[in-house]
Protein backbone atom coordinates (compact mmCIF):
# COMPACT_ATOMS: atom_id res chain seq x y z
CA UNK A 1 0.00 0.00 0.00
CA UNK A 2 1.19 3.43 -0.91
CA UNK A 3 1.19 5.23 2.40
CA UNK A 4 2.21 8.49 0.78
CA UNK A 5 -1.18 8.70 -0.95
CA UNK A 6 -2.77 8.88 2.48
CA UNK A 7 -0.16 10.72 4.49
CA UNK A 8 0.48 13.61 2.12
CA UNK A 9 -3.18 14.71 1.87
CA UNK A 10 -3.55 14.23 5.60
CA UNK A 11 -0.51 16.33 6.22
CA UNK A 12 -1.63 19.04 3.85
CA UNK A 13 -5.12 19.21 5.29
CA UNK A 14 -3.83 19.19 8.84
CA UNK A 15 -1.52 22.00 7.78
CA UNK A 16 -4.34 23.91 6.11
CA UNK A 17 -6.52 23.50 9.20
CA UNK A 18 -3.66 24.56 11.42
CA UNK A 19 -2.90 27.63 9.32
CA UNK A 20 -6.56 28.68 9.19
CA UNK A 21 -6.94 27.98 12.89
CA UNK A 22 -3.88 30.07 13.68
CA UNK A 23 -5.05 32.92 11.44
CA UNK A 24 -8.44 32.89 13.10
CA UNK A 25 -6.92 32.71 16.56
CA UNK A 26 -4.65 35.65 15.81
CA UNK A 27 -7.52 37.50 14.16
CA UNK A 28 -9.77 36.99 17.14
CA UNK A 29 -7.10 38.60 19.32
CA UNK A 30 -6.28 41.28 16.79
CA UNK A 31 -9.86 42.19 15.97
CA UNK A 32 -11.20 41.63 19.45
CA UNK A 33 -14.17 43.80 20.23
CA UNK A 34 -14.97 44.30 23.85
CA UNK A 35 -18.36 42.82 24.58
CA UNK A 36 -20.07 43.86 27.73
CA UNK A 37 -20.42 40.67 29.80
CA UNK A 38 -23.92 41.80 30.67
CA UNK A 39 -25.12 41.36 27.06
CA UNK A 40 -25.15 37.55 27.12
CA UNK A 41 -26.58 37.66 30.66
CA UNK A 42 -29.49 39.83 29.56
CA UNK A 43 -29.86 37.71 26.44
CA UNK A 44 -30.36 34.66 28.62
CA UNK A 45 -33.34 36.27 30.33
CA UNK A 46 -35.07 37.31 27.14
CA UNK A 47 -37.54 34.84 25.64
CA UNK A 48 -35.65 34.35 22.38
CA UNK A 49 -38.82 34.48 20.31
CA UNK A 50 -37.46 37.37 18.20
CA UNK A 51 -40.99 38.75 17.93
CA UNK A 52 -39.89 42.35 17.45
CA UNK A 53 -42.50 43.62 19.89
CA UNK A 54 -39.89 45.81 21.57
CA UNK A 55 -39.11 47.56 18.30
CA UNK A 56 -35.70 45.94 17.86
CA UNK A 57 -34.91 43.37 15.21
CA UNK A 58 -34.61 40.55 17.69
CA UNK A 59 -33.78 39.53 21.23
CA UNK A 60 -30.04 39.91 20.66
CA UNK A 61 -30.52 43.46 19.41
CA UNK A 62 -32.66 44.30 22.43
CA UNK A 63 -30.12 42.83 24.85
CA UNK A 64 -27.51 45.01 23.21
CA UNK A 65 -29.72 48.08 23.47
CA UNK A 66 -30.59 47.43 27.12
CA UNK A 67 -26.93 47.18 28.08
CA UNK A 68 -26.06 50.26 26.06
CA UNK A 69 -28.84 52.08 27.87
CA UNK A 70 -30.87 52.76 24.74
CA UNK A 71 -33.73 50.61 25.93
CA UNK A 72 -35.27 50.24 29.34
CA UNK A 73 -34.77 46.93 31.18
CA UNK A 74 -38.54 46.55 30.98
CA UNK A 75 -38.59 47.00 27.21
CA UNK A 76 -39.36 43.35 26.49
CA UNK A 77 -43.10 42.98 26.39
CA UNK A 78 -43.06 39.22 26.36
CA UNK A 79 -40.90 38.09 29.25
CA UNK A 80 -42.54 37.64 32.62
CA UNK A 81 -42.04 39.62 35.82
CA UNK A 82 -39.31 37.34 37.16
CA UNK A 83 -37.19 37.65 34.02
CA UNK A 84 -37.69 41.41 33.93
CA UNK A 85 -36.54 41.63 37.52
CA UNK A 86 -33.48 39.58 36.67
CA UNK A 87 -32.64 41.95 33.83
CA UNK A 88 -33.03 44.83 36.25
CA UNK A 89 -30.64 43.12 38.65
CA UNK A 90 -28.07 42.60 35.92
CA UNK A 91 -28.32 46.25 34.98
CA UNK A 92 -28.36 47.31 38.61
CA UNK A 93 -31.62 49.21 38.46
CA UNK A 94 -35.00 48.81 40.07
CA UNK A 95 -37.52 47.89 37.41
CA UNK A 96 -40.58 48.37 39.57
CA UNK A 97 -43.66 46.30 39.08
CA UNK A 98 -44.24 45.42 35.51
CA UNK A 99 -47.78 45.86 34.30
CA UNK A 100 -48.83 43.15 31.94
CA UNK A 101 -50.81 44.58 29.09
CA UNK A 102 -53.11 43.14 26.50
CA UNK A 103 -54.45 44.34 23.19
CA UNK A 104 -58.03 45.44 22.81
CA UNK A 105 -59.81 46.45 19.62
CA UNK A 106 -61.58 49.72 20.34
CA UNK A 107 -64.53 49.53 17.97
CA UNK A 108 -68.12 48.39 18.28
CA UNK A 109 -69.03 48.78 14.65
CA UNK A 110 -69.18 45.07 13.90
CA UNK A 111 -72.39 43.19 13.27
CA UNK A 112 -73.92 45.87 11.10
CA UNK A 113 -73.60 48.71 13.60
CA UNK A 114 -71.28 50.75 11.42
CA UNK A 115 -72.84 52.05 8.23
CA UNK A 116 -71.16 51.03 5.02
CA UNK A 117 -69.75 53.37 2.42
CA UNK A 118 -69.47 50.77 -0.31
CA UNK A 119 -69.23 47.04 -0.76
CA UNK A 120 -65.59 46.00 -0.61
CA UNK A 121 -64.57 42.95 -2.61
CA UNK A 122 -60.81 43.32 -2.81
CA UNK A 123 -57.88 41.60 -1.15
CA UNK A 124 -58.67 40.30 2.34
CA UNK A 125 -56.43 42.73 4.10
CA UNK A 126 -57.28 45.83 6.11
CA UNK A 127 -54.25 47.76 4.86
CA UNK A 128 -55.27 47.14 1.25
CA UNK A 129 -58.89 48.05 2.03
CA UNK A 130 -57.87 51.19 3.91
CA UNK A 131 -56.12 52.41 0.78
CA UNK A 132 -59.50 52.43 -0.97
CA UNK A 133 -61.20 55.48 0.49
CA UNK A 134 -60.26 54.50 4.02
CA UNK A 135 -62.13 51.22 4.07
CA UNK A 136 -65.74 50.26 3.59
CA UNK A 137 -67.05 51.84 6.79
CA UNK A 138 -68.45 55.36 6.81
CA UNK A 139 -66.73 55.98 10.13
CA UNK A 140 -63.10 57.03 9.68
CA UNK A 141 -62.30 55.15 12.89
CA UNK A 142 -64.23 51.99 12.15
CA UNK A 143 -62.78 48.48 12.24
CA UNK A 144 -62.52 47.18 8.67
CA UNK A 145 -62.65 43.65 10.03
CA UNK A 146 -60.50 41.87 7.47
CA UNK A 147 -58.14 40.51 10.07
CA UNK A 148 -54.80 42.19 9.45
CA UNK A 149 -54.30 42.23 13.22
CA UNK A 150 -55.07 38.51 13.45
CA UNK A 151 -52.63 37.77 10.62
CA UNK A 152 -49.92 39.91 12.17
CA UNK A 153 -50.17 38.32 15.62
CA UNK A 154 -47.23 36.03 16.20
CA UNK A 155 -48.76 34.47 19.25
CA UNK A 156 -52.05 33.39 17.67
CA UNK A 157 -53.89 35.60 20.13
CA UNK A 158 -56.30 37.37 17.79
CA UNK A 159 -59.05 35.56 15.94
CA UNK A 160 -61.71 36.85 13.61
CA UNK A 161 -65.15 35.85 14.85
CA UNK A 162 -67.99 36.96 12.58
CA UNK A 163 -66.08 39.96 11.34
CA UNK A 164 -64.88 41.05 14.74
CA UNK A 165 -61.32 40.71 15.97
CA UNK A 166 -61.41 38.91 19.30
CA UNK A 167 -58.32 38.94 21.49
CA UNK A 168 -57.46 35.79 23.37
CA UNK A 169 -56.35 37.39 26.64
CA UNK A 170 -54.48 34.30 27.79
CA UNK A 171 -52.33 34.22 24.69
CA UNK A 172 -51.81 37.97 24.23
CA UNK A 173 -48.42 39.07 25.48
CA UNK A 174 -48.93 42.74 24.74
CA UNK A 175 -46.14 42.98 22.17
CA UNK A 176 -48.06 45.64 20.22
CA UNK A 177 -47.46 44.19 16.77
CA UNK A 178 -51.19 44.41 16.00
CA UNK A 179 -51.25 48.01 17.24
CA UNK A 180 -48.73 49.05 14.62
CA UNK A 181 -50.32 46.94 11.90
CA UNK A 182 -53.88 48.22 12.28
CA UNK A 183 -54.32 50.83 9.52
CA UNK A 184 -57.13 52.41 11.51
CA UNK A 185 -55.13 52.64 14.72
CA UNK A 186 -57.96 51.05 16.66
CA UNK A 187 -56.01 48.70 18.87
CA UNK A 188 -54.84 49.82 22.24
CA UNK A 189 -52.72 48.13 24.84
CA UNK A 190 -54.53 48.27 28.14
CA UNK A 191 -53.61 46.72 31.50
CA UNK A 192 -54.20 42.99 31.52
CA UNK A 193 -56.70 43.18 34.38
CA UNK A 194 -58.60 46.18 33.00
CA UNK A 195 -62.18 45.06 33.10
CA UNK A 196 -63.81 47.90 31.18
CA UNK A 197 -62.99 49.73 28.01
CA UNK A 198 -64.65 52.17 25.67
CA UNK A 199 -65.37 50.34 22.44
CA UNK A 200 -65.11 53.36 20.19
CA UNK A 201 -62.34 55.59 18.98
CA UNK A 202 -64.33 58.29 17.25
CA UNK A 203 -62.84 61.75 16.95
CA UNK A 204 -66.00 63.36 15.60
CA UNK A 205 -68.88 65.22 17.25
CA UNK A 206 -71.75 63.07 18.48
CA UNK A 207 -74.13 64.34 15.85
CA UNK A 208 -71.89 63.18 13.02
CA UNK A 209 -70.94 59.91 14.73
CA UNK A 210 -74.64 59.13 15.06
CA UNK A 211 -75.02 59.23 11.27
CA UNK A 212 -72.02 56.95 10.75
CA UNK A 213 -72.60 54.19 13.24
CA UNK A 214 -75.34 52.82 15.46
CA UNK A 215 -72.87 52.17 18.24
CA UNK A 216 -70.47 55.11 18.12
CA UNK A 217 -69.64 57.26 21.12
CA UNK A 218 -71.76 60.42 20.96
CA UNK A 219 -69.69 62.25 23.58
CA UNK A 220 -72.72 62.71 25.84
CA UNK A 221 -70.48 62.61 28.92
CA UNK A 222 -72.96 60.55 30.92
CA UNK A 223 -70.12 58.21 31.83
CA UNK A 224 -67.99 61.14 32.98
CA UNK A 225 -70.72 62.25 35.30
CA UNK A 226 -71.38 58.74 36.57
CA UNK A 227 -67.76 57.85 37.27
CA UNK A 228 -67.00 58.29 40.95
CA UNK A 229 -63.30 57.81 40.50
CA UNK A 230 -62.92 60.58 37.93
CA UNK A 231 -61.37 58.06 35.60
CA UNK A 232 -63.30 58.85 32.43
CA UNK A 233 -62.61 61.89 30.32
CA UNK A 234 -64.08 63.09 27.06
CA UNK A 235 -61.26 64.89 25.34
CA UNK A 236 -62.69 66.77 22.37
CA UNK A 237 -64.81 63.79 21.30
CA UNK A 238 -64.95 60.18 22.44
CA UNK A 239 -64.68 58.87 25.98
CA UNK A 240 -61.44 57.52 27.40
CA UNK A 241 -60.73 55.59 30.58
CA UNK A 242 -57.67 56.33 32.70
CA UNK A 243 -56.73 52.93 34.08
CA UNK A 244 -54.60 54.41 36.83
CA UNK A 245 -57.77 55.80 38.37
CA UNK A 246 -60.40 53.28 37.31
CA UNK A 247 -61.73 51.24 40.22
CA UNK A 248 -63.71 48.86 37.99
CA UNK A 249 -67.06 49.64 39.61
CA UNK A 250 -68.88 49.12 36.33
CA UNK A 251 -71.34 51.97 36.77
CA UNK A 252 -70.44 53.55 33.45
CA UNK A 253 -71.39 50.34 31.65
CA UNK A 254 -74.98 50.66 32.82
CA UNK A 255 -75.20 54.35 32.08
CA UNK A 256 -73.83 54.43 28.55
CA UNK A 257 -76.79 55.00 26.23
CA UNK A 258 -74.89 53.49 23.29
CA UNK A 259 -73.75 50.42 25.23
CA UNK A 260 -70.18 50.77 24.08
CA UNK A 261 -68.42 50.67 27.41
CA UNK A 262 -67.67 47.01 27.37
CA UNK A 263 -66.51 44.54 29.89
CA UNK A 264 -64.79 41.26 29.42
CA UNK A 265 -64.17 38.36 31.71
CA UNK A 266 -60.44 38.39 32.26
CA UNK A 267 -59.02 35.00 33.21
CA UNK A 268 -57.24 35.45 36.50
CA UNK A 269 -53.58 34.71 36.07
CA UNK A 270 -50.48 36.16 37.60
CA UNK A 271 -49.13 38.82 35.36
Amino acid sequence: MNWNAVLIPMGIFAGLGLVFGLILAIASRLFAVKIDPRVPQVMEQLPGANCGGCGYSGCAALADAIVRGDAKPTACTVCDAAATEQIGKIMGVETGKKVRRRAQIMCSGMGGNAHLKYRYAGAKDCIAAAKLGGGDKMCPNGCIGLGTCAASCMFDAIHMVEGAAIVDYEKCVGCGTCVTNCPKNLIELIPYDAKYWVGCRTALPGKITRTLCDAGCISCKLCVKTCEADAITVDSFGAHIDYEKCVACGKCVEKCPRHIIKSGEIPQKDA
Binding site: I12, L16, G17, L30
Partner: protein, 195 residues
Amino acid sequence: MTLTELLLMMFGAILVENFIFSKFYGCCPFLGVSEKPDTALGMGMAVTFVMTLSGAVTWCVYTFLLVSFELTYLKTIAFILIIAALVQFIEMFLRKYIPALYSALGIYLPLITTNCAVLSAALLSIQNDYGFVETVCFCFASALGFTLAIVVFAGVRVRLRFANPPRAFRGFPLTLLAAGLLAMAFSGFSGMSFR
Protein backbone atom coordinates in the same frame (compact mmCIF):
# COMPACT_ATOMS: atom_id res chain seq x y z
CA MET B 1 -10.10 35.66 -22.62
CA THR B 2 -10.60 39.09 -24.12
CA LEU B 3 -12.49 41.84 -22.35
CA THR B 4 -15.56 41.26 -24.51
CA GLU B 5 -15.56 37.58 -23.71
CA LEU B 6 -15.14 38.39 -20.04
CA LEU B 7 -18.13 40.74 -20.07
CA LEU B 8 -20.22 38.22 -21.99
CA MET B 9 -19.28 35.52 -19.47
CA MET B 10 -20.35 37.80 -16.63
CA PHE B 11 -23.60 38.66 -18.37
CA GLY B 12 -24.26 34.98 -18.89
CA ALA B 13 -23.57 34.23 -15.23
CA ILE B 14 -26.04 36.88 -14.12
CA LEU B 15 -28.99 36.16 -16.39
CA VAL B 16 -28.60 33.04 -18.53
CA GLU B 17 -27.04 30.73 -15.98
CA ASN B 18 -28.54 32.39 -12.95
CA PHE B 19 -27.51 30.43 -9.87
CA ILE B 20 -30.98 30.19 -8.44
CA PHE B 21 -33.21 29.97 -11.47
CA SER B 22 -31.21 27.74 -13.75
CA LYS B 23 -28.88 25.88 -11.41
CA PHE B 24 -30.92 25.78 -8.19
CA TYR B 25 -27.99 26.68 -5.97
CA GLY B 26 -28.58 28.70 -2.83
CA CYS B 27 -32.28 27.95 -2.65
CA CYS B 28 -32.40 27.97 1.15
CA PRO B 29 -31.46 31.63 1.63
CA PHE B 30 -33.50 32.40 -1.49
CA LEU B 31 -36.64 31.12 0.21
CA GLY B 32 -35.66 31.94 3.77
CA VAL B 33 -34.51 35.53 3.52
CA SER B 34 -36.79 36.89 0.82
CA GLU B 35 -39.61 38.17 3.00
CA LYS B 36 -38.65 41.81 2.63
CA PRO B 37 -36.73 43.49 -0.20
CA ASP B 38 -34.31 45.29 2.12
CA THR B 39 -33.25 42.19 4.03
CA ALA B 40 -33.01 40.36 0.72
CA LEU B 41 -30.68 43.05 -0.54
CA GLY B 42 -28.62 42.71 2.65
CA MET B 43 -28.29 38.98 2.08
CA GLY B 44 -27.40 39.56 -1.56
CA MET B 45 -24.68 42.02 -0.61
CA ALA B 46 -23.25 39.66 1.98
CA VAL B 47 -23.20 36.81 -0.54
CA THR B 48 -21.58 39.02 -3.17
CA PHE B 49 -18.90 40.02 -0.73
CA VAL B 50 -18.10 36.50 0.44
CA MET B 51 -18.43 34.83 -2.95
CA THR B 52 -15.99 37.18 -4.66
CA LEU B 53 -13.42 36.85 -1.90
CA SER B 54 -13.78 33.09 -1.54
CA GLY B 55 -13.48 32.68 -5.31
CA ALA B 56 -10.12 34.45 -5.21
CA VAL B 57 -8.80 32.50 -2.22
CA THR B 58 -10.01 29.09 -3.36
CA TRP B 59 -8.48 29.63 -6.79
CA CYS B 60 -5.11 30.41 -5.20
CA VAL B 61 -5.23 27.40 -2.88
CA TYR B 62 -6.34 25.12 -5.71
CA THR B 63 -3.74 26.28 -8.19
CA PHE B 64 -0.76 26.58 -5.92
CA LEU B 65 -1.41 23.82 -3.39
CA LEU B 66 -3.84 21.16 -4.58
CA VAL B 67 -2.66 20.98 -8.19
CA SER B 68 1.01 20.80 -7.32
CA PHE B 69 0.41 17.96 -4.83
CA GLU B 70 -2.07 16.21 -7.18
CA LEU B 71 -4.81 16.44 -4.61
CA THR B 72 -7.45 17.96 -6.86
CA TYR B 73 -9.92 15.22 -5.92
CA LEU B 74 -10.07 16.78 -2.44
CA LYS B 75 -11.07 20.20 -3.70
CA THR B 76 -14.63 20.09 -2.32
CA ILE B 77 -13.60 19.52 1.26
CA ALA B 78 -10.74 21.98 0.94
CA PHE B 79 -13.09 24.66 -0.37
CA ILE B 80 -15.58 24.10 2.43
CA LEU B 81 -12.77 24.55 4.92
CA ILE B 82 -11.57 27.71 3.21
CA ILE B 83 -15.03 29.28 2.94
CA ALA B 84 -15.87 28.56 6.58
CA ALA B 85 -12.59 30.04 7.78
CA LEU B 86 -12.94 32.99 5.43
CA VAL B 87 -16.43 33.84 6.60
CA GLN B 88 -15.28 33.69 10.20
CA PHE B 89 -12.34 35.93 9.40
CA ILE B 90 -14.45 38.45 7.48
CA GLU B 91 -16.94 38.54 10.32
CA MET B 92 -14.26 39.39 12.86
CA PHE B 93 -12.67 41.92 10.56
CA LEU B 94 -15.94 43.70 9.82
CA ARG B 95 -16.93 43.72 13.45
CA LYS B 96 -13.78 45.56 14.36
CA TYR B 97 -13.30 47.92 11.44
CA ILE B 98 -16.62 48.35 9.64
CA PRO B 99 -19.22 47.87 12.38
CA ALA B 100 -21.88 49.60 10.29
CA LEU B 101 -21.63 46.97 7.57
CA TYR B 102 -21.38 44.25 10.21
CA SER B 103 -24.65 45.25 11.84
CA ALA B 104 -26.33 45.73 8.46
CA LEU B 105 -25.44 42.19 7.39
CA GLY B 106 -26.25 40.84 10.84
CA ILE B 107 -27.17 37.19 10.97
CA TYR B 108 -26.77 36.69 7.22
CA LEU B 109 -23.00 36.76 7.33
CA PRO B 110 -22.49 33.56 9.40
CA LEU B 111 -25.33 31.92 7.44
CA ILE B 112 -23.26 32.16 4.28
CA THR B 113 -20.78 29.63 5.68
CA THR B 114 -23.14 26.88 4.59
CA ASN B 115 -24.43 28.54 1.43
CA CYS B 116 -24.00 26.05 -1.40
CA ALA B 117 -23.97 28.86 -3.98
CA VAL B 118 -20.64 30.09 -2.61
CA LEU B 119 -19.10 26.64 -2.81
CA SER B 120 -20.46 25.97 -6.28
CA ALA B 121 -19.16 29.29 -7.60
CA ALA B 122 -15.67 28.25 -6.51
CA LEU B 123 -16.05 24.73 -7.89
CA LEU B 124 -17.53 25.88 -11.20
CA SER B 125 -14.71 28.29 -11.91
CA ILE B 126 -12.25 25.42 -11.39
CA GLN B 127 -14.31 23.18 -13.67
CA ASN B 128 -14.38 25.83 -16.38
CA ASP B 129 -10.59 26.29 -16.20
CA TYR B 130 -10.87 29.98 -15.42
CA GLY B 131 -7.80 32.05 -14.64
CA PHE B 132 -7.59 34.25 -11.56
CA VAL B 133 -9.23 37.37 -13.01
CA GLU B 134 -11.92 35.31 -14.72
CA THR B 135 -12.63 33.41 -11.51
CA VAL B 136 -13.09 36.62 -9.54
CA CYS B 137 -15.29 38.10 -12.27
CA PHE B 138 -17.33 34.90 -12.56
CA CYS B 139 -17.89 34.68 -8.80
CA PHE B 140 -18.83 38.35 -8.61
CA ALA B 141 -21.26 38.06 -11.51
CA SER B 142 -22.82 34.88 -10.13
CA ALA B 143 -23.35 36.63 -6.81
CA LEU B 144 -24.91 39.58 -8.63
CA GLY B 145 -27.28 37.11 -10.29
CA PHE B 146 -28.13 35.68 -6.88
CA THR B 147 -28.78 39.18 -5.53
CA LEU B 148 -30.96 40.04 -8.51
CA ALA B 149 -32.99 36.86 -8.07
CA ILE B 150 -33.52 37.24 -4.33
CA VAL B 151 -34.45 40.93 -4.54
CA VAL B 152 -36.89 40.38 -7.41
CA PHE B 153 -38.44 37.48 -5.55
CA ALA B 154 -38.74 39.53 -2.36
CA GLY B 155 -40.68 42.09 -4.39
CA VAL B 156 -43.01 39.34 -5.58
CA ARG B 157 -43.50 38.07 -2.05
CA VAL B 158 -44.46 41.51 -0.79
CA ARG B 159 -47.30 41.44 -3.31
CA LEU B 160 -48.23 37.89 -2.36
CA ARG B 161 -49.07 39.08 1.14
CA PHE B 162 -52.21 40.73 -0.22
CA ALA B 163 -53.29 37.66 -2.10
CA ASN B 164 -56.11 35.50 -0.85
CA PRO B 165 -55.28 32.01 -2.09
CA PRO B 166 -57.13 28.83 -1.12
CA ARG B 167 -56.11 27.61 2.31
CA ALA B 168 -54.01 24.75 0.99
CA PHE B 169 -51.78 27.16 -0.93
CA ARG B 170 -51.15 29.64 1.85
CA GLY B 171 -47.62 30.25 2.98
CA PHE B 172 -44.88 28.11 1.54
CA PRO B 173 -46.76 26.32 -1.25
CA LEU B 174 -47.62 29.64 -2.86
CA THR B 175 -44.08 30.89 -2.32
CA LEU B 176 -42.67 27.84 -4.10
CA LEU B 177 -45.16 28.23 -6.95
CA ALA B 178 -44.16 31.87 -7.34
CA ALA B 179 -40.49 30.87 -7.34
CA GLY B 180 -41.22 28.35 -10.07
CA LEU B 181 -43.01 30.92 -12.21
CA LEU B 182 -40.16 33.35 -11.75
CA ALA B 183 -37.68 30.64 -12.78
CA MET B 184 -39.76 30.04 -15.89
CA ALA B 185 -39.56 33.74 -16.70
CA PHE B 186 -35.80 33.59 -16.36
CA SER B 187 -35.66 30.54 -18.60
CA GLY B 188 -36.47 32.96 -21.39
CA PHE B 189 -32.81 33.90 -21.27
CA SER B 190 -31.69 30.31 -21.72
CA GLY B 191 -31.80 30.53 -25.52
CA MET B 192 -28.94 33.01 -25.45
CA SER B 193 -25.53 31.54 -25.84
CA PHE B 194 -22.25 33.36 -26.06
CA ARG B 195 -19.99 30.43 -26.61
